[in-house]
């Protein structure tokens, strides 16, 4: 049993606030995810995700506004297209695609945020540490 190390890239307007909403409701969730705030999920270039894996992250989360609710109107459309391709690339390189997680969490969805963290932490826990995959 190991404690997975997870990096979460969260958009400033919806998902980061969703995380704050979870906090305000005092919902408890595992501490494994460390959040990096970005203005929009569209800012998350594939390099940021790959670099996180290279630095030893066992999992990477990308959370943005729901489609249609993006603070920048269509920034997250790019995320929706970009990240599934990146998952395929990960698979090709031998990294389990489940290590990259994409979802939409609004500022109101504190409960969903906490659930997503629970779920993803458990998904990653079931996988070996990334250091074993990237030997």
């Amino acid at each position: 049993m190991y404690e997975p190390k997870i990096i979460g890239f969260l958009c400033n307007w919806c998902s980061y606030r969703g995380a704050d909403t979870a906090g305000m409701a005092r919902l408890k969730y595992p501490p494994n995810v460390k959040i990096v705030r970005v203005p929009c999920s569209g800012r998350i270039s594939p390099e940021l995700v790959l670099r996180s894996f290279r630095e030893g992250a066992d999992g990477v989360m990308v959370l943005g506004c729901h489609i249609g609710d993006c603070h920048y109107s269509t920034g997250n459309h790019r995320t929706a297209k970009r990240m599934p391709i990146l998952k395929k690339l990960l698979e090709y390189t031998g990294i389990e695609p489940e290590r990259l997680y994409i979802n939409w969490v609004s500022a109101a969805e504190g409960e969903k945020f906490a659930n997503v963290i629970h779920e993803f932490t458990e998904t990653i826990r079931a996988l070996p540490p990334i250091t074993e995959v990237m030997k």
Partner: protein
């Protein structure tokens, strides 16, 4: 900035909010050893003036040139600490915040784990701040126009305050008239003055104010932009009435042959026509044709209204129209829904005819209501001789809503008075606790006690039509445990009034998403701070007021409406607002002119310079989302304040800390095995 970074780290206790879970002193000691950290402190409240002075002093005296505060969410206090840096002469973009409250101490069960997480988040912020660069903010003018969503008493109050100051207000109301729930009530507690008498003049003032434009029978479709510069699209639903011709004479309503049960204004106990204004004093005076029930729309014939309309104002071909408005600030005053008493089947509402909801009783007792203010049973002729009023229906009940709806005790006391006054019936109030905390409220309770209303302390178990003895036959029997005498009681009555609780609007969550604000688990809109910023929200330029923020009575709603108006006027008074300097920039040396970035920009702020074969960001249009950065294949675009260097540094800071803790844990485990 060639100076060597000298980072100041400040760990906030936030009273016990953080310090109760995170070992703040340990985090501060640990941060002191991080690279480039000059000073690391922990303090009870970093946002207090003393806390801010600590930062300012260190900038001046210890030459701190980078600042990290680990405290609450940056959405709460980033501006506070940026200002503190500015005051001490440090560029505010050399500040970074670490969220160890909302995203750590409040959500992490284990204290040791919470402390570790705080350390990792602080390490991430320290690593990031080293790479941060000074930036100059942009200032944009604030549009002085204001949008108010909801035309109930709260929205009206806010609109009048702002309009009287000379600023223009747009009110958007979903129903055909202003007025909201208050227009449905008969009397208001505790003064028992007539609701319409105090509301109608306000509605009229709002309707005729030169600085107020009303959009009734309309809804907000889309909201774009940010504080000072919102663009709002409003759907004006087809009224099928040409407002420029209609005089509001009411002849169409008189002649319309189609009667429809009025589920909205009359709470289902009265009728209206297919062409209608909800009530005679409606503002605006123009009616609406309910096309779902209008005979012409259903069968293609009738047009009685058109035949009789003296000004030719009926327009069956009217369609919904979209109106685009520019506003600088928005106030949401969307009110509440009544708890649906059908959800508690044992109370019999919808099954036992003489069980009424509070809103039905309001209409029943209203002089302008379907019975002309006579309190009758559902048959419309019998005057009840005994009435039970049930408190906390759908409130303070773990099966429905945990919260207290705040108004039901006073409302029920008011009902007791009105029933006694109008019918002389015996009144039984079934309550859990009597909650009458506002000005003159408890005095009102004493008055109702003196009037001879019976008070039974206990939650009602059941309302049934099945009697156990002959003398109770034909009555409604209200069963409850009287907790003051410790006995079950079965009280036979003719009428039961369920004081249904208040709930957030059914579509509150969608509305919250539309305006970019948050809802609590009960769907009430969340204010910026529950005590010190009760009407602002986490989204600058969007305020909440009245019952959409939580259950409230009329005085509290009016106070919040006025408060929201004042907050908005204070923002307008500033004239311009600082916006983030985080815009994108193309590195022309590496840009290959592939144009991939151009369609990725949601704001068409990237242009192609053909002479140079380079992309170029128009700064005034760029909103700083960074989507182009993620798209650029030659890595030639940087988003200021969110550069690759800064984000990677933040990620590495967190990763290094996590790896360190993992190594320590492994060592400890190994030592334990020896």
């Amino acid at each position: 900035m060639n100076d060597r970074p000298r980072v100041g780290v400040y760990i906030c206790h936030c009273g016990s909010n953080i310090a109760g879970t995170v070992d703040v002193a340990d985090v501060a000691r640990w941060a002191e050893k991080l690279p480039y950290v000059e000073v690391s402190r922990d303090y009870k409240f970093m946002c207090s003036s003393l806390g801010q002075e600590l930062i300012e002093k260190d900038i001046k005296e210890r030459e701190v040139n980078r600042v990290v505060v680990a405290s609450c969410s940056p959405h709460l206090h980033e501006p506070t600490f940026r200002n503190a840096c500015s005051r001490a002469g440090l560029n505010p973009y050399l500040f970074e915040m670490s969220n160890i409250r909302e995203q750590d101490s409040w959500v992490t069960e284990d204290k040791l784990e919470a402390t570790k997480k705080a350390k990792a988040l602080v390490a991430a912020a320290v690593n990031r701040v080293i790479f941060q660069e000074p930036l100059e903010s942009l200032f944009v003018p604030i549009d002085p126009n204001v949008l108010i969503v909801g035309g109930g008493i709260t929205g009206i109050q806010a609109a009048l305050e702002i309009a009287d100051s000379g600023k223009h207000v747009y009110i958007v109301e979903r129903e055909p008239s202003l007025g909201g729930h208050m227009a449905q009530f008969d009397k208001t507690f505790p003064t028992l003055d007539c609701s319409a008498c105090i509301l109608t003049p306000k509605m009229f003032s709002a309707g005729n104010h030169k600085n107020i434009t009303m959009f009734t029978w309309s809804e907000v479709e889309k909201v774009e932009g940010f504080i000072g510069n919102f663009t709002v699209t409003i759907r004006k639903k087809a009224r099928f009435i040409d407002e420029s011709l209609c005089t509001g004479c009411g002849l169409c309503q008189e002649k319309c042959p189609k009667k429809v049960i009025d589920d909205v204004f009359e709470a289902g106990i009265g009728y209206r026509k297919a062409v209608y204004t909800p009530f005679p004093q409606a503002v605006p005076k123009y009616p609406v044709i309910d096309h779902e029930n209008c005979t012409y729309f259903i069968k293609g014939t009738c047009k009685a209204c058109e035949k009789f309309c003296p000004t030719g104002a009926i327009d069956f071909n009217q369609e919904d129209t979209l109106v685009t408005l520019k506003v600088g600030n928005i106030i949401l005053a969307t009110g509440y829904d009544l708890f649906d008493a059908r959800k508690i089947p044992q109370y019999g509402y919808g099954r036992l005819p003489n069980v009424f909801t509070s809103l039905e009783f309001e209409r029943l007792t209203n002089a302008a209501g379907p019975t002309g203010g006579k309190v009758y049973l559902r048959d419309g002729v019998t005057v009840p001789k005994s009435v039970a009023i049930v408190h906390c229906v759908g409130s303070r009940d773990k099966h429905y809503n945990n919260y207290c709806s705040a108004i039901c005790c006073m409302q029920s006391l008011k009902f007791a008075h009105l029933v006694k006054e109008k019918t002389g019936a015996e009144v039984y109030e079934f309550y859990i606790d009597m909650r009458t905390p506002a000005k003159s409220y408890d005095e009102f309770y004493l008055r109702i006690l003196k009037e001879g209303t019976h008070f039974i302390r206990g939650r009602v178990a059941e309302v049934t039509g099945t009697a156990r003895s002959e003398n109770k036959e034909g009555k409604l029997i209200v069963q409850a445990e009287d907790t003051l005498i410790g006995k079950q009681r079965r009280i036979p009555v003719d009428m039961v009034i369920l004081s249904a609780g208040l709930q957030a609007r059914a579509d509150a969550k969608e509305v919250a998403i539309k305006f970019g604000i948050s809802c609590s688990a009960d769907s009430w809109f969340i204010e910026k701070h529950p005590k010190l910023d009760p009407v602002a929200t986490m989204t600058d330029g969007v305020m909440v007021a009245g019952a959409c923020q939580g259950p409230k009575d009329i005085p509290a709603s009016v106070a919040q409406g006025a408060a929201a108006a004042t907050r908005v006027l204070s923002i307008i008074g500033q004239g311009e607002i600082e916006i983030e300097a985080a815009t994108a920039l193309v590195n022309e040396e590496t840009c290959v002119g592939c144009k991939e970035c151009i369609p990725s920009c949601p704001y068409t702020s990237i242009e192609y310079l053909a002479d140079k074969n380079k992309a170029h960001v128009i700064e005034a249009l760029c909103k700083g989302c960074g989507t182009c950065v993620g798209t650029c294949l030659s890595k030639s675009i940087k988003l200021r304040h969110y550069t690759d260097d800064q984000l990677v540094a933040e990620m590495i800071g967190a990763m290094q800390a996590m790896k360190l803790f993992e190594a320590i844990d492994l060592e400890t485990a190994a030592a334990g095995q020896d």
